[in-house]
Amino acid sequence: MPENRLKSISIFIPEDVVCTTLEKIGFLQTDSVTTSSEGKFWKKMLYVKGDEVISVSEELGDYWPKDPVISICGLPNTIKTILGDLDAVI
């Protein structure tokens, strides 16, 4: 049984496209909070599928470009699929 691995990326893709990509492969959003770090405010959303967890954090406020931070604790195949799907969007 493969173990969960870690991957964190910041990517120039709108948050709604990232979320749609995650939902397509079976992840469900379970919660959302406002966080603050590095002097910025973020909307942090948590997606869960079994033991695999992904957080998507997008900076709040008027700025451009949007580059949400995606942190994955999931199976190697899941990480590969997500990175491949997001690459295809770019």
Binding site: L6, S8, E38
Partner: protein, 185 residues
């Protein structure tokens, strides 16, 4: 001992590389609730301020914030009246109405250096209209105790799963309350 601040991506990627290299390390975690007037409604981006829009008004981010109606801040047991200024960057050092939060701090040490990542998770505002007993200590302007229907602002703590970075089970995480290392305090 050198100490390095990381952002989320750097911290997680550093742990990922350490796992790949099979180095032994321990991740320290401190989660503590704060209510130190750090976050007030004037500094909030519109997306967050809109959650308060039934009781507060402002012209834009970093402008003065006023009470739109009478309301009770149930978390701090304080009552505000219509047109009370609750936060202003130019006129107040600290906000009168402030938002409690959890400070989450992660760190690990390897090869004589320590690596840190921290973030704050704000409590969620919840606004309702309720029958409440209003007492004198809630505001000096109150002359008589009474019961009334009033807007009530509550702050709900975020769930525990939002206060953590998800790491594989083989990563040893130690929770702590206070460190003797001045760099970590």
């Amino acid at each position: 001992m050198p100490s390095f601040e990381c952002n989320e991506t750097q911290f997680i990627e550093n742990i990922s590389r350490l796992l790949d290299s099979e180095n032994k390390f321990v991740v320290n975690r401190r989660v503590q609730v704060y209510d130190d007037k750090r976050y007030g409604p004037a500094g909030m981006p519109d997306e967050v301020f809109n959650q308060f829009s039934s009781i507060l008004s402002r012209k834009g981010q970093r402008t003065s914030v006023y009470a739109k109606t009478h309301f009770l801040d149930d978390y701090h047991h304080k009552i505000y009246f219509l047109q009370d200024m609750v936060h202003s960057f130019s006129k107040m050092k600290y906000p009168v109405l402030h938002i409690p939060y959890y400070k989450v701090e992660y760190s690990f040490r390897i090869f004589g250096s320590s690596y840190h990542f921290s973030f704050d998770v704000l409590f969620k505002p919840k606004i309702s209209i309720e029958q409440r007993k209003i007492v004198k200590k809630m505001n000096p302007k109150i002359e008589e105790e009474s019961a009334m229907l009033i807007y009530v602002l509550q702050f709900e703590p975020p769930s525990e799963k939002m206060l953590v970075i998800n790491l594989p089970k083989k990563v040893l995480i130690l929770d702590f309350k206070k460190s003797n290392n001045p760099l970590e305090n």
